[in-house]
Symmetry: C2
Amino acid sequence: MIRIRTIKEALESKELEPESELELFSRNLDLSAVIPGVKETIAGVKKRGDAALLEYTEKFDRVRLKDKAIEVELEEIEAAKMSVDDDTFRSIEASATAIRNFHYRQKRRGAWLEEFSPGVFLGEKYVPFDVVGAYVPKGYFSSALMCVIPAKIAKVREIVVCTPPGKDGHADQVTLVAADLAGATRIFKIGGAQAIAALAFGTETVPRVQKVVGPGNIYVTAAKIALREEGIEIDFPAGPSEVLIIADETANPEFIAADMLAQAEHGESSQAVLLTDSERIAADVEREILATADGKRLKAKGEGNDEDISQLQSQYQHQHWILTGASIDECIEFANKYAPEHLEIIVRSPLEVLKSIKNAGSVFIGNYSPVAAGDYATGANHVLPTAGYAKLFSGLDVDHFMHRITLQWLDKEGLRQIKNVVVRSCKVEGMEAHARSVEKRFLHESQERQQ
Amino acid sequence: MIRIRTIKEALESKELEPESELELFSRNLDLSAVIPGVKETIAGVKKRGDAALLEYTEKFDRVRLKDKAIEVELEEIEAAKMSVDDDTFRSIEASATAIRNFHYRQKRRGAWLEEFSPGVFLGEKYVPFDVVGAYVPKGYFSSALMCVIPAKIAKVREIVVCTPPGKDGHADQVTLVAADLAGATRIFKIGGAQAIAALAFGTETVPRVQKVVGPGNIYVTAAKIALREEGIEIDFPAGPSEVLIIADETANPEFIAADMLAQAEHGESSQAVLLTDSERIAADVEREILATADGKRLKAKGEGNDEDISQLQSQYQHQHWILTGASIDECIEFANKYAPEHLEIIVRSPLEVLKSIKNAGSVFIGNYSPVAAGDYATGANHVLPTAGYAKLFSGLDVDHFMHRITLQWLDKEGLRQIKNVVVRSCKVEGMEAHARSVEKRFLHESQERQQ
């Protein structure tokens, strides 16, 4: 379904107010229905460990793991490497290289110490987490690259991947190859909320981790949120994928329609929203999306086979919104309120628009930056906050796998310089022993002077 | 009470195992007793707004706010400025300047865009949060500086401070001056869990914020953790303050004892732990701490009046641990496991030790870097993770008030270069429409070539 409104109508309509938590702004991210079941799964894994993992895998993934082997063996990884075709292997390598390049650039390095005033040295030291977990949805090898590579660059010692088994009891082979290439140290054939719980508490075979990252379905997200209460950190809650496009008359409506349809491929909860100040673009994009339902025309143009077309026909039923605004400024205001995971800016002066963008996961600029390029191959991370969380969170990056220690090193003259400020402050706050701990360092000296 | 053990005994003793969540590692951070009450307070504020705030302030702070004025008026701030003495004012200014200098150095700036491969530009843009809240415990003006200054440097638009009223219905004057000087935009006379709830949900007068930072007592911490479930972000959970000191024979035992006693000033849940490879240091520090109980000796040395001494006598009853190790390496291992908020390293080669430190909030190096100096005047932040959370979190800084948007800008040649990798990846993951969104950009071209 394509819904067409003006931005003003959309904002004024009760249906769209964020307070009413209706569709457009709420993104259908209502976890309440799944939380009781997820909590039960979590409790089961916490209590019964591996036995619960095997049981839930049989129940939810409908597969009995051979020899009860939860962990992927080295032999399975080697077999996967041999069975993956060369083109795919090279493609994984190319993506991994691009991801490495971008994330190396992001990384804050080592330690620094600088003299801020005479004798007062301050600094920082960055430290990687020791053990982290990455959740990779079944068959999404690209998410294995996106989660594991930043952890590797941060120098995390143990990088544990969980990914659901297929009906044959094996993990997806391309995912195994990608996870291994990226630097995963252990891989488990476990999915869903049970995987997140296993990482959070540890089991007989799965190690307990400090942080769980990665995209996942509604069960995975609910489990991640529930486990924050248990002292396990997560990257951020992730809901269905979404794209918002700001376009003016310089945009190519065919490209926009293609990107909106691609978004719908993520499932029926995924939203694709076009904001434009051009009635022509709005009309052309609508026509283009509708045209994909017209199999004959598509076929005549040689753009797809029967299967492709029937898939597209179902996709265009998804949540597509076309909102027209009086100006690009109005589009920007709406975009900041919506805080999209993916934001495409296809306008004459994109950097002007970018200046005013406050909330988005990743921004794609111009007619030749489709979201799909960033999903796989530009090198930027595709694990991004959805459902409006881009107001609060940044996408996955090296920082997620490190923490910072501040450093303070004063010599006697440095401490002497700030002594009066410290002592005065201590007295104001009633911290006498704090004051004494500083004065103590100069006590013998003042006694010497008195003599 | 001073407890003296070897590190080995401490680690081997069941009493100290982290699993048993006993004293030394658990830091007495058990919130379960206060959570039901805190949840009730939160529900009250969510439902009844300002009316609940006034009611809880009367109940918990035992004061009826004059004219039901929850917000601090400009006149009150001006009056506070006039009543604070010059020395204190200058002291606040000096602290603020040092804090600004360090946090400016930390800040990641603006936006960048670089060409990673021909035609593929990637970058980042940093954006401040729009509205944040800072909790400042009653009378701790220094925490107002530590919370507000980084937010100001991040360029947060609205910085809302909550601090409890005194018995006279006014907020602490020095705190008002510090918050104002630091750049707070609004200040409210509300404390405890009710303040955190007000910031999380907003009330008729208190604005709703995106993130709540700052130290607080057990009620404040419990409220912060509970409210994460409501989509409000927090800096990190904070429990009682603590110090761990690694010292060898080059350390001055008098200074160590003074720092351990200062730590105890934070309350009876605060821990001070000395780790040393020197039996002599262990014995000297113990003697020095015990000597503070000997009023006559202290007085003879001119180190304090009667009141000071009686206060010290009660402080030395607190949780002091002296643990001796066979080597400094053993001390380091223990320290990483403990993950102290404050870590003092007073050894011959401190940078050698620092290399192996993985978990700490802030590190203080050498005989002249007491924690008290960092609490007020070096410029580093004193809002730090406690209770072992230094394994996961960094102390408060400018990053806490910003989020990052990644940028991707490809031209046609850039997209062409990675097209095959994207399309191959799409096919492997079964994302046909994603592949089509890239191929679409080159469709007319290939049709032209075919003709």
